[in-house]
């Protein structure tokens, strides 16, 4: 509780400072609306029903792209991390595509998939795939051989080795990759929605920019931050629930 109070002071201080600075009229309040105005904009947008729809659309895109991209990244990473032939064929392909910044693909995705859901999901998928691939590839290919030796010498059969040893041993590395990808998913999503869409948090940020409604725009920016924060915390919570040993391993070594 004390901890919480301490952590909040900084944020509250920032809000007060923001409020005071914009009320002094030193800066044009149209450009720099105070937090009270941003909050009231958020409230009215929520009541009108527009904001919940945007959040729903954005979260759905982020989740769909993240889940698909993670599954693909995990799978390709694991297979090429452990099986020589796949490594030889797949890894160079991934390495050639990986340096392309995903933002550079936004226009192409729109040309290919249109302004609807497909282009957004594709871009998030693309953005998430590579970091997850890297973490899965490294995690799986660098499993401490002592774990495998120990398991083999207590009698595990080869076919059980994957699920019982290799995957859990690689999990800490993989989890780090997944967590990085969550914030990446939001970055890519905003870029994709700003470039062209009818709905979504990123779309509103650019739309209010065009009509110069800075309070609403800032409201959506804050909202975006909140969504990223919630997603990260939810992920950490789920990991700690599902894998109680994970926290212990990370803290110790």
């Amino acid at each position: 509780m004390r901890q919480f109070a301490l952590r909040s002071t900084g944020i509250i201080f920032l809000l007060i400072l923001w409020e005071l600075v914009s009320r002094t009229n030193l800066i044009d309040p149209g450009l720099f609306p105070p937090p009270s105005q941003v909050i009231s904009a958020l409230v009215s947008l929520t009541l009108s029903g527009q904001l919940p729809k945007d959040v729903f659309a954005s979260v759905l895109r982020a989740v769909a792209g993240f889940v698909l991209g993670s599954i693909a990244g995990l799978f390709v990473g694991a297979v090429s991390g452990r099986i020589r032939a796949f490594d030889a064929v797949l890894t160079p392909v991934v390495q050639v595509l990986r340096p392309i910044p995903v933002i550079a693909l936004v226009p192409l995705a729109i040309v290919w998939f249109g302004l609807g859901e497909a282009s957004k999901i594709f871009l998030v998928f693309w953005g998430v795939f590579f970091p997850v691939w890297v973490s899965s590839y490294l995690g799986i290919s660098r499993v401490d051989k002592n774990y495998i030796w120990a398991a083999r010498s207590i009698g595990i059969r080869r076919e059980k080795l994957w699920l019982q040893v290799i995957v859990p041993a690689a999990l800490p590395t993989i989890i780090t990759g997944l967590r990085t990808s969550i914030s990446l998913a939001f970055i890519v999503l905003v870029a994709a929605e700003m470039a062209g869409s009818y709905l979504g948090v990123g779309y509103r940020i650019s739309a209010y920019h065009l009509v110069f409604q800075i309070d609403k725009m800032m409201g959506y920016i804050v909202l975006m931050g909140a969504l990223g924060f919630i997603a990260d915390r939810t992920f950490a919570y789920l990991v700690n629930r599902a894998l109680p040993w994970y926290q212990l391993s990370v803290n110790q070594d």
């Binding site: 401490d144 002592n146 774990y147 030796w149 120990a150 398991a151 083999r152 010498s153 207590i154 009698g155 595990i156 059969r157 059980k160 019982q164 040893v165 859990p168 041993a169 999990l171 894998l243 109680p244 040993w245 212990l248 391993s249 803290n251 110790q252």
Partner: protein
């Protein structure tokens, strides 16, 4: 009588980018059924490589390794391995670590629980069944590692500096744990250590290796009565064995480290 290990003219090389390193040159040794044998030698002389080869992790480049006249082709739970760094599975609880072997063999769950409990009791770990290895002290971790291997009832126990990471008190305690276990179960044991005192205290026979690439330099039969107790360390014969071994090792470490510097 199972668990008769024979290593004959074993040589193992590793091929790197531009050269081949011989980790072990010419090692011959034997662990008869139910014997306790130690292998000592300076760091890097190839002790772990010998253990890994008997375990079935690393195939011989030349020579042969057999257990009960069968050449070794792959790891098997008949040959249990205890590692210096414990190598417990951090994603499994103490209970699950110990149950790993029988579960891999699809033993029924009730029988598993019974025998895991028996080993938890034996090792004084009853209260820690649901802990994760990261929550245990070094001595406790090594007891879990030992239980995880013993539950498979192996013929041969291969121990690679199992107490190297433990403090002096825990180490002496663990030596007695192992000695008691061995006296009641009589498995064949090959025990790698740097510690001469430990080797003499535990063994029927001690092999000393030469510096890298290792071969067998000399062999000592330790004819001290059993069962042994801590106070045997003050015995005149015990001290004489220690002295002989100490001199043999010292010769080898000078080859690696050079003569003592003079000031």
């Amino acid at each position: 009588m199972a668990g008769h290990v024979v290593v004959k003219n074993l040589g193992i090389s590793f091929t790197g980018k531009d050269k081949t390193i011989w980790a072990v040159k010419d090692v011959s040794l034997e662990v008869k059924s139910r014997e306790f044998v130690s292998l000592v030698g300076v760091s890097g002389c190839g002790k772990s490589t010998v253990i890994n080869s008997i375990a079935g992790f690393v195939p011989p480049t030349v020579g042969e390794v057999t257990v009960d006249n069968q050449p070794i082709t792959e790891p098997n739970s008949r040959r249990g391995v205890v590692f210096q760094s414990f190598v417990l599975f951090p994603w499994k609880t103490v209970f699950e670590n110990i149950a790993f072997g029988p579960r891999s063999r699809d033993v029924d769950e009730k029988a598993i629980t019974e025998s895991v409990d028996q080993y938890l009791k034996l090792m004084g770990l009853m209260k820690f069944a649901d802990h994760y290895p990261q929550q245990l002290s070094g001595g406790m971790r090594q007891r879990v590692a030992l239980a995880r291997v013993l539950i498979n009832d192996p013929d041969v126990l291969l121990m690679d500096e199992p107490f190297g990471a433990l403090d002096a008190q825990t180490r002496i305690f663990m030596q007695e744990v192992v000695l008691n276990l061995w006296e009641s179960t009589h498995k064949s044991v090959l025990f790698v250590t740097h510690d001469i005192d430990e080797a003499v205290f535990l063994s029927d026979r001690v092999y000393v290796m030469t510096a890298a690439p290792g071969s067998i330099k000399s062999v000592y039969d330790i004819e001290l009565e059993r069962p042994r107790h801590a106070d045997i360390r003050l015995d005149q014969k015990f001290l004489l064995y220690k002295k002989e071994l100490y001199e043999a090792i010292r010769e080898e470490s000078q080859k690696v480290l050079g003569p003592l510097p003079t000031f």
